[in-house]
């Protein structure tokens, strides 16, 4: 928790973001004989040595099950796990650590809300409002719940720039709207949505708002109280922590009224065959032995990030995005998908009629890792009438050399397909 205090007091934060590249072991290797340019951060980010050490230290010395043993290791593990919860609370500025539920990731967080809240509160004729730019994980759970409850799923359209059509949103929002579930930052387009405005409007109609923060947390400071969102979901592995761990933040008053999502150990107080009483928050929603080392890794990633000035991260990534955008725009046949006014470092594109998959293979040969395909956002691909895009996405540890290597690889691609 030292790092949290560091960011809250006036201890100087690291603003020389470029120097941090040295902290990430995976970046210092060759792929097909070329230095690795890792530009697939929106899919999953790489871990700092600091995070790797925290996890390995736990595994070596402190592992035991939590909340169960009276012995020393169990106490250490419990303290570390609950310590990580407190770090997450501070990281997103939640009011209470009981509002932090550990999950497997964004997908499970959204499913938890859809099942628990959706099944218990949605009625036939109610509406759930999502958008055209949602990741499948913020579409399919709601489809499943709407089918079962008779609620209707409505969709906010997007514009050619790849921004939400806010006028359409205003029209779609009504007293029937019970839940608005929106991506904070689009993984396929990079668009930063005006979530504060959406939340205020939704609340004025009595609707609750869930934000999918998977692509936001590594790139901007999140303050869930200032946003006043009802739920916020994110994944550890996109913010320099291990896979298999994620977070659901929910307002305490709402979580308290929601029925459990899964049953099992840890989430109960007493069990008899007549009646089981449920544990208090957050344990009510954490059935079974959780991903203890993952939570500890997430806590370490937060400590790591807390030493860095988020404004400097944003500036660095914006610089890389602008540099890459202008270089890419010079290539014949390039078309960038997603030109929102406010974007994170996500560059989705097509190159003439060269299929994204071929681009990806040739870039890989040049040491450049990008994502190709539909990015789990098939409706976006449909909207822009493309079968797939290639996507470069930046994190704080990328630099202009990565971009140069990326553009060089695209030139090679153009030559091969000329």
């Amino acid at each position: 928790m030292n790092a949290i205090t560091a960011s809250q007091s006036n201890i100087k934060l690291i603003s020389d973001v470029a120097s941090l590249r040295a902290d990430i072991p995976a970046l210092h290797q060759k792929i097909w004989g070329k230095p690795l340019a890792y530009l697939d951060n929106a899919a999953s980010s790489q871990r700092p040595q600091f995070v790797i050490d925290a996890v390995s230290n736990h595994e070596k010395r402190n592992h035991a099950n939590i909340h169960r043993g009276v012995h020393k290791l169990s106490q250490r593990a419990t303290n570390a796990y609950e310590g990580a919860r407190e770090k997450v609370r501070a990281f997103i500025n939640a009011g209470n650590s009981r509002e932090i539920i550990f999950t497997r990731g964004t997908t499970e967080s959204i499913n938890l809300v859809a099942h628990s809240l959706g099944l218990s509160q949605l009625k036939s004729g109610d509406e759930v409002l999502i958008s055209w730019m949602e990741h499948h994980s913020n579409i399919v759970p709601w489809q499943l719940i709407c089918e079962r409850t008779g609620a209707n799923l409505r969709t906010i359209p997007i514009t050619d720039r790849g921004e939400l059509d806010l006028e359409a949103f205003n029209q779609l929002l009504s007293e029937r709207t019970k839940i608005v579930a929106i991506v904070h930052v689009s993984n396929a387009l990079g668009t930063i949505n005006p979530v504060k405005e959406i939340i205020d409007k939704a609340h004025s109609k009595g609707a609750m708002v869930l934000l999918d923060g998977a692509q936001a947390v590594a790139h901007m400071r999140i303050d869930v109280q200032e946003l006043d969102c009802d739920f916020y979901a994110f994944s550890g592995h996109k913010m320099f922590a291990p896979t298999g761990i994620g977070v659901l933040y929910g307002k305490k008053v709402l979580l308290e009224d929601m029925p459990p999502y899964q049953g099992g150990g840890e989430m109960i107080l007493t069990v008899t065959f007549k009646k089981t009483t449920y544990n208090t928050l957050p344990y009510k929603f954490e059935a079974g032995t959780p991903h203890i080392s993952g939570a500890i890794g997430l806590g370490a990633a937060i400590d790591y990030l807390s030493r860095i000035d988020f404004n400097a991260i944003a500036k660095h990534e914006r610089d890389l995005l602008e540099y890459a955008t202008s270089q890419l725009s010079d290539l014949p046949g390039s078309r960038i998908i997603g030109n929102a006014h406010k974007k994170t470092g996500v560059l989705s594109f097509i190159l003439g009629d060269i299929h994204a998959h071929d681009i990806g293979t040739i870039l890989d040969q040049e040491g450049v890792a990008v994502r190709t395909g539909h990015h789990c956002t098939m409706p976006i691909m449909e909207f822009f009438s493309v079968p797939a895009t290639a996507r470069a996405s930046f994190a704080f540890y990328n630099n202009r050399n990565d971009v140069d290597q990326f553009i060089g690889g695209l030139r090679t691609t153009l030559e091969i397909f000329s």
Partner: protein
Amino acid sequence: MNEIQELYREVILDHNRHPRNFGEIEDADRVVEGINPLCGDRITLYLRLNKGNVEDITFNGTGCAISVASSSLMTDKVKGTSVSDSLDLFDKIHRLLTDENDYQAEDLDKLAALSGVRQYPTRVKCASLAWHALKTALTGSETNTSTE
């Protein structure tokens, strides 16, 4: 030749640029759709069969260079041959794409160019999509096939 040109040989690039037998057959006996969910490749095969022979075969759809070229090369090779020879060819191509011992069949002609994908495990599915669709068309009653 560097490794990437081993994959994108001239034959592949040519068949990607100018796919042969591209289009529909209106009175097709078999229509099979093949989907590769990983990259969104989607091709439809149309076959007209006559007395145990593949009298006509075409395809359409969208896909990467590897899957388009593979489909194009396949239709070229299979058109006019017997169903049983086509199924033999499926087995040969399957081995060509996946065999670690550098399997080379003799009578593959241009299809031998597909062997470049062996170095790229993620691309084997692209090359085999059309072939799985062919096998479904020739043997199965199903009308869809997927490489997943």
